[in-house]
Every structure is written in C-alpha cells, then in structure tokens.
Point group: C2
Chain length 412, copies 2
C-alpha cells in the first residue's frame, strides 16, 4: 500500500481533543488505503517547560542530558496518538526514536539524521498495522544515547521518513493554512499559494518565514519529497494548504512568489578600513569565531587604500560583533577609523524562480521603493532572490508596495 507521512505540530496536539481531531484526519487517509506514518511534536508548551527545567538546573548543561530530558514530550504524544487511533479501531502503535531506530550523528541538541531503516515498521505494516506513530525531533546516536534535532526538528523527522519510506507525500499540519505571498498581518492582500517551488520555500524559510524549518525543506528538495503545508484546524480536502514541490510541477507561476521580511536585522559598518589583500577574510573570520551570523556583506572603496566594510547581522549579536572588532583592532590585525551600528533597519526580500528567466525584476523593485521615498541601504541578490536593507519604519510600506507592484494578490 502507498505510504503517506503526516506530521502534527505542537498546537495540533496541544490537548486530548486536538489529538482526537488529528487522529480523525489520519483515519480518513487510512480509509483511502494509505499506510500512514504519523510524526508528532510534544504538546505545545511541554518542550518549553522541559527546556526551562534544564536551564534552571544547569545553565551550561551537558547536551546529552538535555536531549534525554527534552525528548520526553514527544514520547507522551506518540503514545496518546496511538491510543486514540486504536480507540477509532485503526491498528496503530507508537515508536520512539531509538525503537525505529532513527540513526543520527552524535551532535547532541542539533543532530543530523543519518539513516532510517524501514524494515521494522514495514514488517508491522505487512502484519496489518496501518499507522506508525513516531515521536518527532529525536533519534539515537552511534553511542546509543538519545539525540534531538534542534528546534522545529519534527519537520525534518517527517521529511526524512517520507524519503526513507518513499512516501507519496509528506503533509505538515500546523496552525496556518499554507504558505502566503507575504505575512497577512502586514499586507491584507496576502494570498495563499497553491504551490511553491522548493528553492523558493528554502529562501523564504531562511528569510524569516516561520512555516517550515529550513533543514526540512533542504531535505525535501534533495530527496524530491512532495511536501504539503496545511492547517489542522480547517476542513480537510485534497487541495488544502500549499504544496512545496519541484519547480517542474508548477506549470505557471508569477515572476515573484512572495515578499519576505525580517525586523531583527542590524547594519554595521567599519569606516575607512586600511585595505589590503585578505582584509575581508580577516574581518569575517573574527566575526564568525565570535558567533556572529553575518547575512549581507557590502564593500565600498572610499579612497585609495581605504575601504568601508558593511554587513548585516541579527540585532542581538551587535554587542558581540563590536567586541570582536575592538579586539581585532587592539591586536593590530585590522585598522579602521570608526564603527557604526544601525539597529533601526529591516530586511525586505522578494523571492521567485521566475526571476531566472525575467530581466528587470531588480530594477522594478528599486523603482517601487524609490517611488515610496524609501532609501535602500544595502542590496544583495541571489539567482532567485533580491534583498534590501531599509529603515525599519518603512518596512510595512515596502512590503505592501512590492506586493502590489508584482501583483501577488493574483494567481498566475
């Protein structure tokens, strides 16, 4: 029988009633003839409670014990979901990570899945079990210890199972009903997309759209797993939600698929850096070693032998970046006149695979912003994305203007 993977996030299994509602959706797919693998998160709030206890007990905790404690929330939901399905006369059983086993690396708290042998679960499917309920977010290391995959890891678990079992589709049930052209709270014209390409979803996820964990999209793209994002609180249907798929499966699409934004960005500039070969490497190695996640980078030649170096990074890493640069200056590896941090910026991006074949998209974006009197501070581009850094106070305006100009409220 074809296999379907269904993943339910924390809000979708927050209470026994919601677990029942989720189980009913599973029952519908079983009735259609699927063998179903259900991946569950912890009931919402539970993981935070456990993480809080660990932090209070041991601020510099041993990640192996962190994983042992924090993984327990998913085990509870897995058992309760299996019981709920059994009550509905659906043959089901729960599996914890080590029972499958979900083999991961030993990088506790941020482990990567290495292998999911399918034989144990497939044997049960052959014996008549219809649903395997698997605790998400967890696995087992080569040393036999419990690992976790990092926040949002249950999405990754779901996609990895879909790949390992060659599933027809991987349905991610969450509290939003799909992927939108932009955040509906910022633009009332935001439209739910029926389909989106992996590459676009990947850019949107890394640009701040919180629907799917970036790694799960990467994995889906690599193994060509059809991903569907849909709400567990809406009516069930075969076309609900948004399908994340290979771009070949999207017949027609807008040039721009969506507008993403991020409020928590800061812009930093080193003014009049003494330029020499390797200076950029020196600066960004120092920032990386200080744990600063640099996003955009721009270099301007100011005068002969001097340059201005600008980058963006998360707001809360500015202090760390300043300290690293001051130290580098004192130890003489770099030299600059001044360091400026601008905390009142935001990043706005447009994303779309259509950009590959359409010219003038960047020019149009800059014109739209200019028409609104919005000054662009930094620009970066990739093959399917253009990002700009602007004053934060213009962020909503920029998103709305771009959404209008590229006519994202209309389907292709």
């Amino acid at each position: 029988m074809p296999v379907l993977v269904m993943k339910f996030g924390g809000t979708s299994v927050a209470t026994l009633d919601r677990i029942r509602r989720a189980a009913k959706r599973v029952g519908v797919e079983v009735a259609k003839g699927y063998d179903v693998i259900v991946i569950v998160s912890a009931m919402s709030g539970k993981t935070n409670e456990l993480v809080g206890w660990v932090n209070e007990t041991s601020p510099m905790y041993d990640a192996r014990e962190y994983d042992a404690v924090v993984s327990s929330g998913e085990n509870v939901t897995a058992g309760l979901m299996a019981l709920t399905l059994q009550e509905m006369d659906v043959p089901a059983r729960s599996w914890q990570g080590w029972q499958v086993p979900v083999k991961t690396t030993s990088a506790h708290s941020s482990a990567r899945i290495e292998e999911i042998p399918s034989d144990n679960i497939m044997a049960k499917f052959k014996q008549g079990m219809r649903v395997a309920v698997v605790a998400g977010f967890q696995g087992v290391s080569p040393e036999g210890r419990i690992t976790t995959l990092g926040r949002g890891g249950s999405d990754t678990t779901a996609v990895a199972f879909a790949a390992a079992f060659n599933a027809e589709r991987c349905d991610i049930y969450t509290d939003v009903d799909g992927v939108y052209t932009t955040d509906p709270r910022v633009s009332a014209k935001a439209r739910k997309l029926d389909k989106i390409a992996f590459e676009e979803m990947l850019e949107l996820a890394s640009l701040g759209a919180k629907v799917l964990q970036t790694r799960s999209v990467e994995l889906a793209m690599r193994y060509k797993v059809k991903l569907r994002v849909l709400s567990s609180f809406e009516e069930q249907s075969d076309t609900a939600g948004t399908l994340v798929c290979d771009e070949e499966e999207i017949m027609e699409s807008n040039v721009v698929a969506g507008v993403a934004f991020n409020r928590d960005e800061a812009k930093m500039t080193l003014v009049s850096v003494a330029d020499r070969p390797g200076i950029a490497a020196t600066i960004f190695t120092a920032l990386s070693e200080a744990g600063v996640n640099v996003d955009m980078i721009v270099q301007n030649i100011a005068e002969e032998g001097r340059t201005d170096m600008t980058w963006s990074c998360p707001n809360d890493q500015v202090k760390r970046a300043e300290k690293a640069m001051e130290q580098a200056k004192q130890s003489g590896v770099i030299n600059f006149d001044e360091m400026i941090a601008d905390m009142d910026v935001a990043k706005v991006s447009i994303v779309g695979i259509g950009m590959r074949s359409h010219t003038g998209v960047a020019a149009k974006m800059f014109q739209v912003l200019s028409n609104e009197g919005i000054n662009i501070k930094v620009i970066t581009t990739s093959e399917i994305k253009i990002s700009v850094l602007i004053d934060r106070k213009y962020m909503e305006l920029a998103v709305q203007a771009l959404h209008d100009a590229f006519e994202l409220e209309k389907a292709a």
Copy 2:
C-alpha cells in the same frame, strides 16, 4: 569501589530544589568512596497526570502504549538529576531502562525484571563516572518495547539493581523517616524501628503499610539485599531510618514487631451453601476470574451437607463479587440461601518473627480485644502474623490496645 544504591521517590524529587537536596545526599556518599546508582521516580503528580491522559484517551487502553506514555516521567527526573550532579562536579549520567538494559517480561504495566546486565554501567564506573542515574519503574521487553513494573515499581528497580551490582546497601529515600510499630496517626506511642526482618516487613507491606512495595521486599529477601528506609527531609546520618535485613542481623527483638491495619476491607458470607467436594474451589475460582482479590477465608459447617462460606476482600470489589456469585448461582454451579456483605469492618494484624518461638501470642491478642469489648469476626494466622476482622469503629481502639499490651513503645 563499593556500590551503593539510593532510590528517591516522587515527593523527594518533586521540584528542582528537592532534586538538588537529593543530589547533595548522593554527593556525600560519593565523597565516602561509593560508586552510586541512583534510582528516581517521576516528580510527584507527573505519573498521575500521564495516567489520567491515558485513561481519558482510551479507557480500555493498550498496556503497551500505556507503558510508553507513563514511563516518560522518570526519564525527565533522571536527566535532571544527572545534570544537577554534574553541576556539583560529580561525574554522572542518566540511563533509561532500555539503555541499561533492564530486561523484563512482556507483561506490560506489571512486568517483572528478568535480568539487569551490569557491564555497561560498570564500564562507565571504571572510566570515572561516579553516579549512574537510572529511571525507575521501567524496563524493556524481549520485543524491544517499553514496559513498566506497576505502581511503586521504582522500589523494585532499586532492589534489583542492588542485587545485580552486589551493592553494599539499598537506601530508599521517602517522605517518612522509617518503619514504625504502627501508624503514628493512630497511636501516639508508635515507635520507629531501627531494624526489622524481611519477613516482618513483607507481612506489614502486604497488610497495608505503604512504606515499601511488597515485591521489592520479596526481592530484597531473596537476594539478601540490605534495605534501608529513610526520609529525604531529615538530617543525614549513618543510622537514620529503618534497616530491613535478615533476621540473623537482629540480635534482640520484641515478640511482636508491629501492628498493621486496613480500613478498606469488607466481609462477605454465603449462607448455607450446599456442600460437596470442590465447592470452595468453585467459589474462589469464580471470584478470582471476576478479579476479586480474596484475602481471608473461613468455612463453618452449619449443618450436615450445608456450610457457611466467609471471606474478606477490598471494599470496592464487593459489587463485582456479588455479581459473580449471583451468576454462579443462576448457572447452577453453586447454591446458597443468602449472601451478606458487611462493609463496616477493618482488619487488624500483629506481626513478629518472635511469634515463632513464643507461645500464647494469639491468646494474648484475643484477650486484649475481649477486654476492650471488641468482637472478633474472622481470624487468620500465619507463622509470624495474626489477623482479625473487627467492626471498623473499634479499629483505632484495637490498634492502641494491642500496641500497649505488647509494649511496642519500648525497644527490645
């Protein structure tokens, strides 16, 4: 290094503060040179919460899923205890049942421990780990599924580890400071015992004293594990609590060690049963199949060919017993005139290994009760125990009178 097993019950690990207090006690034993195996229960209330969820989800639950859900509370405490010890610079790690592995039977929710291989944990002790924190109450079946040992199972886990690791002693930390001659809430003269023999503890546990799980005492007796019961809320000392040990280690002891009682007993009588060979077997097989736990049994010959059959059982099983007897009567396998259930009775017992060598103990007990005007309804005896069923309203009076008469307030 010698091994010590320390078990902390739910109230002793109810909060992060209490876990810290328990960890300090562990630290003291480590400093003395012990390698310590710590067995932990779930934080108090957690197991009840999980059991509640399972019952609400599926009243006739699959015991395998029940075990998967309910065992998670101990995993949380084990991780938190290991982290707390690490914070105190004590090398520690947590172990879940399947990691040790604690091999049990497949009787889910009431599994029995079959084997605890010591090599994994011993190897870690040799590498410098000083404390293995093990999640109590759980194990793994031959099929690789999680099992639990039944309520109070963490005591059994502790004793089984003490036996498997040939531990010097097994300390059970709880919310009472030891075993008393009787419940201090019933007799103000109740005295804490410094030592008690396994056999006595076993009788007391099965008669309703809630200090230790009966199975853990059986196991300790079989493997000669020195058990100590003590409070985690009192000052630490080497002589605190009560030592449960082989009777040879108790030099002098009172004839009677303690007075136990049970309020939740009912007395049932079938009046004028048609007697024939095998009638007792027929009646008690029917009761057993109906899930009635029969305790005391008395048979009186009323007249030629007729007999009165009396037994005691827990109050809340009376309805079930009545139904089973009515059905047996209707189907013609037994015949009786009347069925009487007396819910207002209590069982009072005296226990002591000294009874083996002292005569007249039973006579003295009956005389004491008679002096107080208390009528005895049923009597049963074993080698080291005499139990009587009396009107419940006299229970406290009986306990106090017996405690006085056998001078239990005085040490031997």
